[in-house]
Each structure stands twice: as structure tokens, then as C-alpha cells.
């Protein structure tokens, strides 16, 4: 069995796949990769299954030793990866020779970089997924972020690397944007009309106090009108809620499954991967689209992501 040795872990590095959707009745949120598009492309470039477990690094990457070698692909943000001082290009399979280490640094663009390995990271599944859920300490590698000294088993399917790369235009088409498209939330009518105008015209800034559970936004403070107390209900991924003090929060992959704050809007499915690539202090805006338009964008994106012919040369 081949191994991956964590020599330094980076800011927050966890094992993630597509998550464990479907356990809401147990109070379990799906978790999973914050940028599922990058995870998918990274894996497919290695000819892994799209949802093979990989390492998700946040803002600053780590140093990983491969005593037995491996074939890897880096996807998502550019953390300046190197082997022996030589840069490793993103979105390409690379053979790492036995005893070599992959060194990553601080991000140069977005929030999350995925280190995918041919054969995947070998961790036990919990409720059908290898994803780490940090709040409850379940899933992934011991239910926590990686630490220096951790030694992870690799799936280790030895195979030759094909020189696969994304087709021209594909990465541009899937590039994380800072304008997030939203549909009206279930309590949008709890807010005054001008609140919606503010919502879709003002600039918000991602707060330092953001994580996989949710992204807090600094910006206009919008409050629901009246004093009506909302009854807690299920909260969709990407819901934008305002707390009574007027703080906006985008609920994300490790979200609470229910909540009692009014939800003014919801990020559309086709833009959720963009949320996963937002960094603290990023300035963002929201643009309204209809449910019909949102669904059309989702179907278009799913068709592209499901077609290896359209994705790769």
C-alpha cells in the first residue's frame, strides 16, 4: 500500500469527496468538497471516478511526502505547488517519484486547492462518504483536519498517466466568479422592497469569520421587517440569511441543517463552486435570476461536467 505523509498540513486541510447527502433526518449535513467542480475535474484528469476522496486545502497548502510515489493532479486555486523547486502546473496529471515531496504555499488567487491522487485517499467511509465533517468530528481522517505527522493510505492503483488536459475554454467557463447569481429565498417577502434592491446592487465583503459551515458577509445590514418570530425549518445549501442584528451569512457545505433566520436569497446550484473559492476580504455581489433560468444553467453545467469529451483533450 502506498502512503502520503503530512510534513506540514497547511491552514486547514481535510479529506473530501462529494459528501453524504440524504441524512437530513439524522441532523447530518452533506459536507463534501467546497468546490465540487474542481474536485471533479482533478479526479477525472487522473481517470479516477469524479467523487474520489482528495485533500482539500484552504488558503495555504502543506508539504506532502510520497515515500512510494504517486500520480497526482492539483485542481482549483493556485497554491504555487512545487517538487524539487520545480513548479507543478495545475489541471495536469503529474508523476511524483518515490521519496519526493509536493510543497504548496499561500494561495495566489482563490481559496481552495485540491490535491487529487490516482486511486484516491484511502479513508473509511461514514454514511457512504469519505468527507470530513469538522463540527461533529465525523468522517474523513479521524474526523479532523490533517496534522503534521499524519500518514494516510492511498488507493494506489498503479497506472500510466495519459496526457489528459482540459479543452480550451473549459476552465474559463467554469472559473469561479465574484458575482453570485441568486434566486429569491423563501422569506424574501419578510424584507422591505428596498432591501432586495440593496441586496442585488450593493457590494458585500467576505468576513474573516467564514468557514465551511458558512460565510459571514460585511456590508449593508438588512433586517426583516416586523418582529415576527420565524419557526425553524430546513435550510438549503447556499441560503443567504440575515441574523436579527443584520449580519448576512451564506450557509455552506457543513451548514446547520435547520435554522430560524429569514432567508432572503439562495445562491444557484451552478454558482455554488464559486462560493467555495471565496477568500476573506473578497468583495462580492449578487445578481437575481429566475428559477427557470437557474435550472437551465444547472442543467447546462451538469451536461458539460458529465461529458468527458467536452471537458478534456
Amino acid at each position: 500500500m502506498s502512503l502520503l505523509v503530512v510534513e506540514s498540513a497547511g491552514l486547514q486541510t481535510t479529506v473530501q469527496d462529494f459528501g453524504r447527502e440524504g441524512f437530513g433526518a439524522l441532523g447530518v449535513s452533506a459536507s463534501g468538497a467546497a468546490d465540487a467542480v474542481a474536485l471533479r475535474l482533478g479526479n477525472l484528469l487522473l481517470e479516477n471516478k469524479a467523487g474520489t476522496p482528495a485533500l482539500e486545502m484552504t488558503l495555504t497548502g502543506g508539504t506532502f511526502l510520497f515515500p512510494d510515489g504517486a500520480v497526482i493532479c492539483l485542481a482549483g486555486a493556485n497554491f504555487g505547488a512545487q517538487v524539487d523547486g520545480k513548479a507543478l502546473e495545475l489541471w495536469r496529471p503529474h508523476a511524483i517519484m518515490p521519496g519526493k515531496r509536493v510543497v504548496l504555499g499561500a494561495t495566489r488567487d482563490f481559496a481552495r486547492c485540491y490535491l487529487c491522487v490516482a486511486g484516491g485517499i484511502g479513508v473509511a467511509e461514514f454514511l457512504g462518504s469519505a468527507s470530513t465533517h469538522l463540527l461533529s468530528g465525523l468522517g474523513g481522517w479521524e474526523g479532523r483536519a490533517l496534522r503534521k505527522g499524519d500518514v494516510l493510505p492511498l488507493g494506489g492503483l498503479e497506472k500510466n498517466i495519459r496526457r489528459r488536459k482540459p479543452r480550451a475554454g473549459v476552465l474559463e467557463q467554469l472559473k469561479p466568479e465574484k458575482t453570485l447569481r441568486v434566486t429569491l429565498g423563501p422569506q424574501s417577502d419578510w424584507f422591505l422592497e428596498e432591501a432586495w434592491r440593496t441586496m442585488t446592487s450593493a457590494e458585500f465583503m467576505v468576513s474573516e469569520d467564514s468557514n465551511r459551515m458558512g460565510l459571514r458577509l460585511d456590508g449593508p445590514r438588512l433586517a426583516a421587517r416586523g418582529k415576527a418570530e420565524m419557526i425553524s425549518e430546513g435550510t438549503p445549501l447556499g441560503a443567504i440569511q440575515f441574523t436579527p442584528s443584520g449580519q448576512a451569512i451564506i450557509l455552506f457545505v457543513e451548514q446547520q441543517t435547520t435554522g430560524g433566520y429569514p432567508k432572503i436569497a439562495n445562491v444557484i446550484g451552478a454558482d455554488l463552486h464559486c462560493v467555495g473559492q471565496l477568500r476573506p476580504r473578497d468583495k462580492i455581489q449578487f445578481e437575481e435570476v429566475s428559477l427557470v433560468k437557474a435550472r437551465a444553467l444547472w442543467i447546462e453545467q451538469q451536461r458539460l461536467l458529465g461529458s468527458e469529451e467536452r471537458l478534456f483533450a
Binding site: G24, G27, F126, S136, S232, T258, N266, V267, L291, R295
Partner: protein, 224 residues
């Protein structure tokens, strides 16, 4: 029955507009039918007090189709026989280091700590739903006399097994997590275990009763 689009891939189904046993019974029945006869395009079901949030495969169906199917399910769910509620007993060591907010709750409500405990154990609670964290069951309704708002500043970490109250709800924290509920005691039981079936000690629709135990009994149960 009322429907509300929640996102481009999720629909909220409201079966009433107030917290109570009757509305919740409809939520549980619809959930049961959806679990007994799963629909291929349903990705997740999140029940709550009066509603279910249905996340669906938006490539396969749109909101109107989901709505039509759920209306049909709800009609049939209403005719299901009532499920036998399980009774779950939760031993709790109240006060002291295990219940750091017991004195404060008592003071706020003009009661003795003993009276708060007496009121907390007097009632059989209804498990409305699980949320917040795996195995975290929202139990109600707490007697009015001890209803107390959440802490203004949540604790960064609440010990696993802590029993808290917030408004007219009470719950046990299954894991050491941040938390804003007022803590009045702690149970030695493990609320969520991945090697158990079901994993959660409390499931939606269960009846829950708290039983006071001494510190010695708590520690003995922990060792067992």
C-alpha cells in the same frame, strides 16, 4: 399544505404554520411515506416543526413536478396509521460543573434550582426533529415557567452530553461543539454513535423523558 421554492433545487413543504403535535404528526407521516417509498429524484429530506425541505435532482424534475408528487404523497400519508412513539429515557446529572447555567436560569425565572430540575423532569417531551449537528434532537415543549432565551454570546465549546434549554425547547448536545443554549445538566449517554443502529439515541417523533442521577451514578454510567 403550502409550497415555497427555497432554492433552484429545493422546495419547502409547509403542513401548518404553528408548532404543535398535530402539525408535527403530519410532518412525521409524510417523512415516513417518503422513506418507505423513496422517490429517485429526492436527494435529501429535512423535516422540522411544521415543514419538510425537499432537495431534488433539478436535472430530472422542476418545482412543479416535485410539488405535484408531494401533494399525492401527502394525501396518502394522512391515511397512514399513527406510529407507536418510542419512549427514550435520558439520565441527567443536574447543576454544578455539569449544568453551569442552572443557577442563572433559576434566578431569571425566580425559582430555586431544585424547582427548575423538578419542572424539567416532570414532562415527557416530543422530539420534533434533528438538526444543528448529527443526533441533536429539538425537544419540546418546555414548561413556560423555565423557558429562558439563548445566551447572548454562545460558548465556543459545550461538552458532549450537555443538556441545554433555549426558549421552549430543550436538547442534549451529542458532540463537543459551540453552543448558545443554557446548560442545566449532563447525560453520561452517547447520543450519537456511528457503530449503532440507529446512530442517534433519539429519533424524530420519539417521546423523551429526563431522569435525575447523582454525580456518582453519572460517573458509574460513564465507566460502564
Amino acid at each position: 399544505m403550502r409550497f415555497q421554492a427555497a432554492s433552484d433545487q429545493a422546495l419547502l413543504v409547509y403542513l401548518g404554520e404553528e408548532i404543535g403535535a398535530a402539525v408535527h404528526e403530519r410532518v412525521v407521516r409524510l417523512l415516513r411515506l417518503l422513506q418507505q417509498e423513496p422517490i429517485a429524484w429526492v436527494r435529501n429530506i429535512q423535516p422540522a416543526y411544521c415543514s419538510l425541505l425537499i432537495t431534488f435532482d433539478a436535472v430530472a424534475v422542476d418545482h412543479a413536478e416535485v410539488q405535484a408528487k408531494l401533494s399525492e404523497y401527502e394525501t396518502r400519508a394522512k391515511k397512514l396509521p399513527a406510529a407507536k412513539a418510542r419512549l427514550v429515557e435520558v439520565p441527567v446529572c443536574y447543576g454544578g460543573a455539569f449544568g453551569p447555567d442552572l443557577e442563572e436560569v433559576a434566578a431569571q425565572r425566580g425559582l430555586s434550582p431544585e424547582k427548575v430540575v423538578e419542572l424539567h423532569i416532570a414532562r415527557t417531551y416530543h422530539a420534533y426533529f434533528l438538526g444543528f449537528a448529527p443526533g441533536f434532537a429539538y425537544l419540546g415543549d418546555l414548561p413556560d415557567e423555565i423557558a429562558t432565551p439563548r445566551l447572548e454570546t454562545p460558548r465556543k465549546e459545550v461538552a458532549a452530553g450537555s443538556v441545554g434549554i433555549a426558549g421552549r425547547q430543550t436538547a442534549v448536545y451529542p458532540f463537543a461543539t459551540p453552543g448558545g443554549w443554557r446548560l442545566i445538566g449532563r447525560t453520561p449517554l452517547e447520543m450519537f454513535r456511528r457503530d449503532r443502529e440507529p446512530m442517534g439515541l433519539i429519533a424524530i417523533g420519539d417521546q423523551v423523558k429526563f431522569r435525575p442521577v447523582t454525580r456518582a451514578e453519572f460517573l458509574a454510567a460513564r465507566r460502564a
